[in-house]
Symmetry: C3
Subunit: 134 residues, 3 copies
């Protein structure tokens, strides 16, 4: 299994970071198989969405409605409403598996792989790519 | 890695389409491994739910509450509220991996694999099945 | 592909059950690869969250807001509001794939693998672990 781990700077606000370039570059030349994308963090997730047309901002609108950043949560530390960040991975999981065809992830035209990070307190995140040939 | 790609007609309304038969047929005779189901579309997802008892309709009730089809979304084109469709895959991901035991996906009695397509504007969808033997 | 199936007692109320120990034990000594966790049930899901700091309780707060346990659902049998249980797996999927590095799942410090079971009517659940070496 081939592995590549890298860091992403997500800054001090909620961030949607496009990882597609890294995934495409990692898979290049590796043939057929499955690529797993994984973030080893308890307050981040991964999604496949279109980027560049507003959905990154829309995603926070939806997440804030589903998981309001207020004092309803039992899990409390860090920024106000941080308990919400700890629930994000239950709905936007930190693992994604993508088929690869002759070194190319078979993403549709409008699909990008993104890191979804609501957490204001962690400016740097790690991402791990694994390629299982088949 | 064995691969099978096929098209599904989802029509002009929100659709939950049962893919279980295709997945079961694809896995038959392939031994042990993992089957990945993937849809290369930015406004569709995949789920494992019970079908035939009302949950397909209930799913739209829940999706419409989570992602209302109104003008709150920045991502705007196509049908009114279409920005909601672009958020669905963040919550109902377009990739699923299912273990296979001697050519049989190990689904529970009430589990079916379904394509979840809220998009009124795309009547035909592609689905890709990949089998990684192990 | 190595496989291990076990049962979990979830009792008669909503349950978040930590499966990390079983997954870590199963992967030990198996080298590099992907570990798939799967629950063959139509009213349960799997998540990777922090446990022990309140997020288990918070998760039910969020799930109850997303999927209220009332009579809005068409799928009706068992406990009141049970139709909600049938939608959980669409948002918290019953399958998770985790990379394994030299027999160790590459979970972050605060990540635990949990079974999410809202169903009051099924006190025992099965979990299947599959390891695909790579």
């Amino acid at each position: 299994m081939d592995v590549y781990t890298f860091e992403v700077r997500t800054g001090s606000g909620p961030a949607v970071v496009d990882l597609t370039g890294e995934v495409v570059g990692f898979c290049r030349g590796r043939g057929d198989g499955l690529c797993n994308v994984f973030v080893p963090h308890a307050t981040a997730g991964l999604a496949i969405i279109e980027v560049g047309a507003g959905s990154e901002r829309d995603l926070w609108t939806a997440v804030d409605a589903l998981l309001p950043r207020d004092d309803r949560w039992m899990h409390r530390h860090g920024s106000p409403g941080h308990g919400a960040d700890h629930l994000l991975p239950a709905f936007v999981a930190p693992t994604l598996t993508i088929p690869v065809d002759d070194g190319v992830p078979v993403l549709g035209t409008w699909q990008s792989i993104v890191l979804v990070d609501p957490n204001r307190d962690n400016p740097i995140r790690r991402v791990r790519l694994s390629f299982l040939a088949g």
